[in-house]
């Protein structure tokens, strides 16, 4: 394996596949290395696929990609112990092709994507772990794998090795993750007949629902939960900042068990057969946590570069977009006869700055700090809002004016007048 390649891509998730596909399609000699038995076997996601990012890479992906259901309805629930206040958006606009988003099962989807990568000429080898980078001075020139004689060389290496990115840490490109910059999410998949899902969620064949949740299910921690409909299964998960999880002393396993017992959630899962339990870290540090993402002979894409928009629950689209743009940067430099120096590869960052990836991350750069300092949005407010709904909706002979006063006083008692105004301002600023 001492061949020379144009590009080595480490990892076969959405970012690595997008990069390998784009580079190989443009005629570059691409080697992709994946540690799993097959692409996807190490990968975990909720999972929702946003069509736009994939369309820009494979316009006809709908023809044969394994898609579960297109989402026509999105619910947001704010939960208290045994209630929730929610909002729902359902639209025929989301039910008309080309569909905007789908639920997917990553093990199947990643295998499909990898097949397409190989169809355009990339060489993908699985069951191979990359142990480190080969350097020539400060330039990356190849990778060392755990195969016998397993060193391979390339003009550029794209690090698509996921949130942990041991490669970047070993090479000193990225400091160790901080507990406040990542969330741990645990997830289960429950199988049931498609007709059960359709009647339970009030949708037709191939139509799906996504429920995003916040409030008591994270037991005071900064985090969210979700429940997505697949073709014949539901995925349910909950994730919290690792710094909070460490402080609260609740096991992730117990957290998801408690969530499944919530009276609004339990009936949705009723009768399902649990077939897998997964866990995954999610980069939540946002704009300020993004490390240096390129240097001499290397580029970093996807979760490895911390590209996740946690506010909008977007990650795989940022992964595919950063993967594509990294490859496009190499293609353009090659066409112009320019070397993959640190200065030339810095063009990758400026391209990202001009794209939705950095624009969105920048917009919400204050969010991680805001949430860390204002846990009341995950604790007191869900409780107050649920109590307000209960007070207003309960018909018990008390007049409405008295009920309003009771709600107002309860809010003031919990947060103070000043606190309420401050919270409203901070909330607005964080989303500004």
């Amino acid at each position: 394996m001492s061949e020379q390649f144009d590009v080595i891509v480490v990892g076969a998730g959405p970012a690595g596949n997008a990069a390998a596909y784009t580079a190989a399609k443009a005629g570059m000699k691409v080697l992709q290395i994946e540690r799993g038995e097959s692409p996807g076997s190490k990968n975990v996601q909720g999972a929702i696929l946003y069509s736009d990012a994939l369309e820009k890479i494979i316009p006809d992906f709908r023809d044969d990609a394994p898609l579960e259901r297109h989402l026509i309805e999105q619910r947001m629930w704010m939960l208290d112990d045994d209630s929730y206040v929610g909002s729902t958006y359902r639209s025929q606009a989301f039910n008309s092709p080309p569909y905007n988003r789908y639920t997917i099962i990553r093990a199947q989807f990643d295998r499909w994507f990898s097949k397409r990568v190989q169809d355009v000429g990339a060489l993908t080898i699985c069951e191979t772990t990359v142990l480190g980078l080969h350097m020539d001075g400060d330039r990356v020139v190849g990778v060392k794998t755990d195969r016998v004689g397993g060193s391979v060389y390339a003009d550029a290496v794209i690090l698509a090795d996921g949130v942990n990115s041991l490669l970047a840490k070993k090479a000193g490109f990225h400091a160790e993750l901080q507990p406040r910059d990542v969330a741990l999410a645990v997830k289960e998949i429950h199988f049931m007949p498609d007709t059960t899902i359709e009647s339970r969620f009030n949708v037709g064949p191939q139509e799906g629902v996504a429920i995003e949740m916040a409030g008591k299910i994270t037991q005071g921690m900064v985090g969210t939960g979700f429940l997505y409909t697949n073709a014949e299964s539901l995925t349910i998960g909950v994730g919290c900042l690792l710094s909070d999880l460490r402080a609260q002393k609740i096991t992730p396993h117990q957290l998801i068990e408690n969530m499944k017992e919530h009276p609004a959630i339990r009936p949705l899962l009723e009768g399902g057969e649990m077939k897998e339990y997964c866990a995954h870290l999610i980069p939540e540090g946002g704009y300020n946590a993004i490390p240096t993402i390129s240097g001499a002979g290397w580029l970093m894409v996807g979760d490895a570069g911390m590209f996740v928009n946690s506010v909008h629950r977007e990650g795989s689209n940022l992964a595919m977009t950063t993967g594509r743009i990294a490859a496009e940067t190499l293609i353009e430099l090659r066409a112009a006869g320019q070397d993959f120096t640190a200065a030339n590869l810095a063009r990758y960052r400026s391209k990202l700055d001009d794209s939705f990836v950095m624009k969105d991350l920048k917009k919400y750069r204050g969010m991680p700090g805001f949430l860390e300092k204002n846990p009341q949005f995950f604790t007191q407010y869900p409780e107050l809002i649920n109590r307000a709904a209960h007070t207003m909706l309960l018909v018990d002979g008390a007049d409405k004016k008295t009920k309003e006063r009771d709600i107002r006083q309860h809010f003031i008692r919990k947060r103070s007048r000043r606190g309420l105004i401050g919270d409203a301002f901070k909330f607005w600023r964080a989303f500004e």
Binding site: T145, P179, H253, K275, Y277
Partner: protein
């Protein structure tokens, strides 16, 4: 399904027998210096157990390869964490 072992039983693994991919660097640090033992609480597969004498034991067979134990050990940096050899470890059926 109240035990994490029952959940892990649903998963598919190819265990690299005798070659754990995660190791505790120095057992004394866990036993004596680390009071909170965050790995025991935070590991989603409960790979870490606190023993009666304060020692922490680690069995990586059920590991989901998330990286949590390494990241929460920020105070002592006592977790030696590598990926399993290619093809070994958790093999997600669905992910």
């Amino acid at each position: 399904m109240n035990k994490v072992e029952e959940k892990l039983f649903q998963n598919r693994y190819r265990v690299d027998a005798g070659r754990p991919h995660i190791q505790i660097a120095n057992a004394d640090v866990c036993q004596i210096k680390c009071e909170s033992k965050p790995c025991v609480v935070c590991c989603p597969a409960s790979c870490y157990t606190k023993e009666g004498d304060g020692q922490v034991t680690l069995i990586t067979d059920g590991c989901l390869e998330c990286g949590t134990c390494r990241v929460v050990c920020s105070e002592h940096r006592n977790v030696l964490w590598e990926y399993p050899r290619g093809g070994y470890g958790i093999l997600f059926k669905f992910g």
